[in-house]
């Protein structure tokens, strides 16, 4: 290929991020203009148009709104919420949470309104094929339709890979012409599709199946239409209560003894916990790591007594998507310990090699060539042991390598494969590749994507249902508005944050910006911390724990909804933590800054919140030295303030941040002195995120 074209394609790959090197614009005008055109195409943004259909509708495209976003979007909801809040302020306390129920065979539904069901199953038979809508359940949050298809002749389906059958999904047509979107769906004999909710005043819809999935045009009846009628769900419809349980997971690697590390923490997380009737379901996800992807091999769950208590995967139907999950009968004492075994698989990018193989002019089925040809790929030695033709116009290649090599990709230059296979273990693996017609003669084999698998590793997660729930924030924190002082351009608002929990000495808003305001129409009101001059004028009336804000408008539609998102809580009893790195030869005078230590599991016994120290990194900041302390913690915990009672210093700091790489809360403690060992720390204050609301009627 022309050198210029080669250079152009290299730069094009850099532009598209396919080459790691930084993009350098060319000085050649032909190439530059072509790359400018490439850049125009590269910058085209189609994100807003993406609306996956059918079962491929995952949360990626439907990010969950926060409660406040929902309020802002729905003024009517605000009115309801104000009524609820006023009731709450009158002294009656409500636990605000969704009312969920579980219907066997259907899944989890919201029960906020009356449930409805199909009046009766409906069947239609066309050309010998019977479509029966067996069941429907209508709840405030969704519509579930279940149907079966029987007697579909096999010849209705394609029999080759390159022919595509019907890919359209069923639809629900409302009387006003509206077509409801599918949230998810699929299935085997019984197909179950979940649609958006049907309005409460609509009792009849038409179920339309444009064509039977994967059938060829003209081979099976199309455009099925079945009227459906809904009635209140029968009183004997089985609905088990569903309770959302807390998911915070103090967690850490089970690896002992602690060692110096460079890797991320436990790559697993519990994302949802539900009690469904008598069963508890815990759903989790596997986290991406910088080193590759985790292949989970085994999972087990033990209760506090060490007894195995679970089945996996859960048998409850209609659960949200998850990577792994367990189910067990409620009752055994917690905390519960997960033990997860898995291996890390990593494909080395840009690993390539080429090998010539002479298949001769007329290779025969079953013919074998023993080669034992050494190949270097990705800096590793791999041996192509043998090649064999198989019965499907293809070749099977047998390789040998070190035990950690799990496989590689292979193709034949100039030939497009139509299928393939492969597998193996412990460094002995095969790769087969098939073609429309068997390639012959001198063949250039292209090897790539060398893949490694780590030895099996073990991790643990701990879950305890006694932890407080997210919908019931801990420590009985309340936002209170004490005084409103009218101004020409708005109001000065004076209030405080209080806690009814004896474990909390003092509560205060995290400044600035943790307080916001909207009115009943959902409009965001201009609210900022009051200026010093404004505070001075009312000083005698406020104490040091008060917050003073300036609401810079008098144009308010209805009520003002004040929302606090983060609070500082001073603990009545400081919580001790000891960091002892002496067993790991840590010496503050000799150990270089940047060294990280796996500390083992050191629980920080904060009241009502899980936090476990698992890693400490020696750091410096200006003239201060100290540690970054990595915690796996309750997601509501956003900061911990430590004091160092045994350390003499002139200047010190304690600050927290969330580290997205390790997905951990990281608290930095540092001082302008040599850190003693062991280092005694006292957690005196915590920072908590949540949603605390006060409604004010001007």
């Amino acid at each position: 290929m022309n050198k210029r074209i080669e250079q152009f394609n290299l730069r094009l790959d850099q532009l598209l991020g396919l080459q790691a090197r930084e993009f350098n614009p060319p000085d050649n005008s032909h190439e530059r203009t072509a790359l400018e055109t490439a850049s125009l195409i590269h910058q085209l943004d189609f994100d807003a148009e993406m609306k996956p259909k059918g079962k491929w509708t995952f949360q990626l495209f439907h990010p969950r709104r926060t409660f406040m976003q929902t309020l802002r979007a729905k003024p009517a909801l605000i009115i309801l919420f104000v009524l609820l809040a006023l009731t709450l302020l009158s002294g009656v306390v409500y636990a605000v949470s969704r009312s969920l129920g579980y219907i066997p065979g259907v899944g989890i539904v919201e029960q906020g309104g009356q449930l409805r069901a199909l009046a009766e199953p409906v069947s239609v038979t066309r050309e010998g094929i019977t479509l029966t809508v067996q069941q429907a359940v209508l709840s405030p949050d969704k519509t579930v339709i279940q149907y079966t298809l029987e007697n579909i002749p096999p010849e209705a389906y394609p029999n080759t890979e390159d022919v595509i059958g019907c890919i359209r999904t069923p639809e629900l047509h409302l009387p006003d012409g509206q077509i409801l979107s599918i949230i998810q769906g699929g299935g085997g004999y019984t197909l179950s599709f979940t649609f958006l909710p049907i309005p409460a005043n609509v009792h009849e819809v038409v179920f339309i199946l444009p064509c039977i999935s994967n059938t060829l045009p003209g081979r099976a009846p199309e455009n099925w239409e079945i009227p459906l009628r809904f009635v209140p769900a029968p009183p004997d419809l089985t609905i088990l209560p569903v309770i959302e349980l807390p998911t915070p997971t103090p967690q850490a690697s089970a690896e002992t003894p602690p060692t110096r590390i460079d890797s991320a923490p436990v790559p697993f997380q519990i994302v949802q916990a539900l009690q469904v009737g008598e069963d508890v379901v815990l759903l989790g996800q596997t986290l991406q790591t910088a080193q590759g992807w985790i292949q989970l091999h085994t999972i087990r769950l033990t209760d506090a007594a060490g007894q195995l208590v679970f089945t996996t995967p859960p048998t409850v139907e209609g659960l949200p998507a998850f990577d792994w999950g367990v189910q067990f009968k409620a009752g055994p004492p917690g905390p519960f310990t997960f033990t997860l075994e898995g291996s890390l698989t990593q494909t080395l990018p840009n690993t390539r090699a080429e090998v010539m193989f002479d298949a001769g002019p007329n290779p025969q089925p079953g013919q074998t060539w023993t080669l034992n040809q050494p190949i270097e790929i990705g800096g590793r030695a791999v041996t192509l042991v043998s090649v064999q033709t198989d019965s499907a116009n293809g070749y099977s290649f047998q390789f040998h390598a070190q035990p950690d090599v799990a496989g590689l990709s292979i193709s034949i230059d100039g030939h497009t494969a139509v299928g393939g296979g492969g597998g193996g273990a412990q460094g002995n693996f095969s790769a087969s590749v098939m073609y429309e017609t068997l390639p012959k003669g001198q063949l250039r084999l292209l090897l790539s994507d060398l893949t490694f698998t780590s030895p099996i590793q073990t991790w643990t997660l701990i879950w305890d249902s006694n932890l407080p729930t997210a919908s019931n924030p801990p420590f009985d924190v309340r936002l209170v508005l004490d005084r409103v002082i009218p101004l020409e351009d708005g109001y000065t608002l004076v209030g405080h944050v209080e806690s009814g929990d004896v474990r909390i000495l003092k509560a205060s808003p995290v400044e600035p910006g943790s307080l916001s305001a909207i009115d009943s129409s959902g409009r965001i009101l201009p609210l900022s911390q009051a200026a010093f001059g404004e505070v001075i004028q009312i000083l005698p009336a406020v104490d040091e724990s008060a917050w003073v804000y300036h609401l810079k408008t008098r144009e308010i539609n209805g009520d003002v909804i004040l929302t606090l998102n983060e609070v500082n809580l001073r603990l009545a009893q400081p919580v001790a933590l000891t960091l002892d790195l002496r067993p790991y030869q840590f010496d503050p005078r000799l150990t270089p800054v940047g060294v990280s230590y796996k500390t083992g599991l050191i629980p920080l016994n904060l009241p009502g919140l899980g936090a476990t120290l698992y890693r400490a990194a020696y750091i410096s900041q200006g003239n201060l030295t100290g540690f970054d302390l990595f915690f796996q913690s309750d997601p509501r915990l956003t900061g911990i303030v430590f004091e160092m009672p045994g350390v003499q210093f002139g200047q010190a700091m304690s600050d927290s941040r969330y580290d997205t790489n390790s997905q951990s809360l990281v608290t930095r403690v540092a001082a302008d002195t040599i850190m003693p060992q062991p280092l005694e720390l006292l957690a005196t204050e915590i920072r908590l995120q949540g949603e605390w609301i006060f409604i004010w009627t001007p």
């Binding site: 290929m1 203009t33 055109t37 259909k53 995952f58 595509i164 890919i167 995967p313 998507a321 790769a431």
Partner: protein, 174 residues
Amino acid sequence: MYFPFRPQKHPLEQAFEKYYPAIFRYLRLRGADADTANDLASGVFERALSRFEQYDPARAQLQTWLFAIARNLAANHWKTENRLEPIDDDFQDDTHEPEQEIILSQNREQILAALQHLDLRARELIALKFGGPLTNRQIAELTNLTESNVGVILYRSLSKLRAILAESQEASRE
């Protein structure tokens, strides 16, 4: 004692999150409107799910496999013969002068419309290149072209697209 683990979340779900946008982008560049692109891209994963047992990670990257399905679906949708013939690998330098004026203000519709003026093969390669994005080797595997053919076609196609865009910009000024 260990229990066998059977993950419930299908591996394609993760692939969906990663590659749906790429396949959607490919289909849009290929000429599909947004609705059709959503239909077809969703269909790619429906089909991949039904054929997932046939997928062999040792033979092809998942991305390449999904794009192969996408190409089949797209071809079937448009009922167009899209066999790509290799071209002469001896690249001759372009004789026309590149447009000197820098085109920076083209809107999306103009670019998509200009793409439709390219021949089918050029459009296909650009859609694969910028949709995936795919390497020239991956495109070569999918299209039965050589890797160097792909590079040459891309260069020529982008130069041609540049000229079409310049004409369209000139026409809109007039």
